[in-house]
Amino acid sequence: MSRISKAFENKKAFIAFVTGGDPDIETTEALIPQMAAAGADLIEIGIPFSDPIAEGVVIQEADVRALQSGTTTDKLFDMVKRLREKTDVPMVFMTYVNPIYTYGTEKFTRKCAECGIDGIIVPDVPFEEREEVSGACAAAGIELISMIAPTSKERIDMIARQAKGFLYCVSSLGVTGVRSKITTDIGAMVRQVKAVSDIPCAIGFGIATPEQAQEMASHSDGVIVGSAIVKLIAKYGRDCVKPVCDYVKEMKAAVVVAEGKTA
């Protein structure tokens, strides 16, 4: 069983996102094992990009901070390699297709596998363009995580049938960022996936509070939280480990509550 599958085995997963190198590599490196210890079942590490078109302001600013501190793809590979010696937590990279393509797609996926990255999420590679990266992922033995959105509707079947690792279900229209309310019928979206595939479904975009996490987890196999964590990192900088881990504990507890209440 892959590390990603284990994150969903007999439980609902809490997935934590951080931008790699925000505010610097040392802080990210300290944060990841601590978040795992605090209950994060899978860690999504953003490779910062100059022009993150799917991100709201919070993660855009994290990308700027990370790039300004000198973060590069190679430095993040080195960081993951060091982390892999200490932790078994599943780790995936989230980045845009240009940093992957420019690095050399085969070289990138091979380095992912060597360093202990389990999968990649590439928000600007839709189903129709997946061959840009899918062959290289398969050859390297890492998972290409697919995404569905509230607009996907009849596209869900074809995407779900091909999905590997877990399916990233985008909760709302628009870009990443905290939302006071999620109006999409997440239950219906997940049911449509489950009709054609048993791939685990994790809900992301806009989830910030334990109440939202519990609600979203009750309809799915896990929740992904990014901007709310990145906000804490922006606020506390190098001293973010404790406040972030306290937050992760609280969110994980809310997800655990949902395990008993699954619809």
Partner: protein, 396 residues
């Protein structure tokens, strides 16, 4: 690649978030339906002729020709179109299409403000809500165009992320479209972005080259030897070139913004300095670093200040069918002043890049040869900036 659409050789495609895929597919379906629809084409033709003022003139620049002492120089006067640039051709097509699709709101990016003004104009005409995203740097450089858009009823959003120029305006318009697609069409301003935009924008702009061919045949009875146009994303150049692609005797020359020079980091010459990448929905050439971070580019011209180029241009460059040359700020400003004094035509600083190359090329050609330069827009918007460049402070 199986399933991948809108390819020009290696380039093109649809690299956008899943959320937007149904929106671009809806646009593609609508375009395929209406492009051969007689009623749509009749309405568009009427708008082009009775509203935009097409056909635009093909003007023989006799004084310039004599001054340069070589090839005959003709100017395609897209600056005379309503709103003062070629941008109107595309927006009349796209906004009419949006209306047929049942949309009530259009959004667009703009660099120099020409596409923003054109979109706001078409939206006013067709009764659509309109919001324009423009880099903060450019709202400062082009304050007049900003006010013009507001006058036309559009809401202008200054974009403060990234380099605060055209690339960031595109980012922000894409983000906005991701949040609202039901009633909204993104009216993209150049032959770039995800399929079907490069194709649609080219189709609405190809009238430029069709008219050049027809008008030059009437005036000279032959094809031009060279067609020259400036290139940012590349819509006026693609519009001027497209008709001539099969006519291999016609040299097609795109002029890129070299800013302070191709060897200086402050430039926007994508073909000269860029490498293959995937950004803004397309695989094409981009100015970027070794890790694929998009480079902050620079040009005096807000309309050419873009780190990429349309995928069809990337392919024309690769196959050698078109040639792309860098023009510096200094050369463009000098050409801006030259055309003003020589022919009494103040070109857009973007179009001045094409004039600058025509000045280099014409003397090396025979007197029986013909160059057509596309004057993509008029220069009123640039007067204050050029004055500043020359050390004169005036209020615009």
């Amino acid at each position: 690649m199986e399933g991948s659409k809108g390819r020009y050789g290696l380039y093109g495609g649809q690299y956008i978030p899943e959320t937007l895929m149904p929106a671009v597919q809806e646009l593609e379906e609508a375009y395929e339906k209406y492009k051969n629809d007689a009623e749509f084409q009749r309405e568009l033709k009427e708008l082009m002729e009775k509203y935009a003022g097409r056909p635009s003139l093909l003007y023989y620049a006799e004084k310039m020709t004599k001054d340069l002492g070589g090839a005959k120089v003709y100017l395609k006067r897209e600056d005379l179109n309503h709103t003062g640039s070629h941008k109107i051709n595309n927006v009349l097509g796209q906004v009419l299409l949006a209306k047929k699709m049942g949309k009530t709101r259009v959004i667009a990016e703009t660099g120099a403000g020409q596409h923003g003004v054109a979109t706001a104009t078409a939206a006013a005409l067709m009764g659509m809500e309109c919001e324009i995203f423009m880099g903060k740097e450019d709202t400062d450089r082009q304050a007049l165009n900003c006010y013009r858009m507001e006058l036309l009823g559009a809401k202008v959003h200054p974009v403060t992320s990234g380099t605060m120029t055209l690339k960031d305006a595109v980012n922000e318009t894409m983000r906005e479209w991701t949040s609202r697609m039901d009633d909204t069409l993104y009216v993209l301003g150049s032959v770039m972005g995800p399929h079907p935009f490069p194709m649609i924008v080219r189709d609405f702009q190809k009238v430029i080259g069709q008219e050049i061919k027809e008008q030059l045949m009437a005036a000279e009875g032959k094809l031009p030897d060279a067609v020259i146009a400036c290139v940012g994303g590349g819509s006026n150049a693609m519009g001027a070139f497209y008709e001539f692609i099969p006519d291999t005797s016609v040299r097609l020359i795109g002029c890129e913004a070299a800013g302070l020079g191709v060897d200086n980091p402050k430039n926007a010459a994508t073909i000269a300095n860029g490498s293959v990448g995937i950004f803004h929905g397309m695989k094409s050439l981009f100015c970027q670093d070794e890790y694929g971070q998009i480079a902050p580019v620079y040009s005096i011209s807000a309309g050419l200040d873009y780190p990429g180029i349309g995928p069809e241009h990337a392919n024309l460059a690769e196959t050698g069918r078109a040639q792309y040359v860098p023009i510096t700020d200094d050369e463009a400003v000098e050409a801006f002043e030259y055309l003003s004094r020589m022919e009494g035509i103040i070109p857009a600083i973007e179009s001045a890049h094409a004039i600058a190359y025509a000045k280099k090329l014409a003397p090396s050609m025979g007197k029986d040869q013909i160059i057509v330069v596309n004057i993509s827009g008029r220069g009123d918007k640039d007067v204050a900036a050029i004055a500043r460049y020359r050390g004169v402070e005036i209020f615009d």
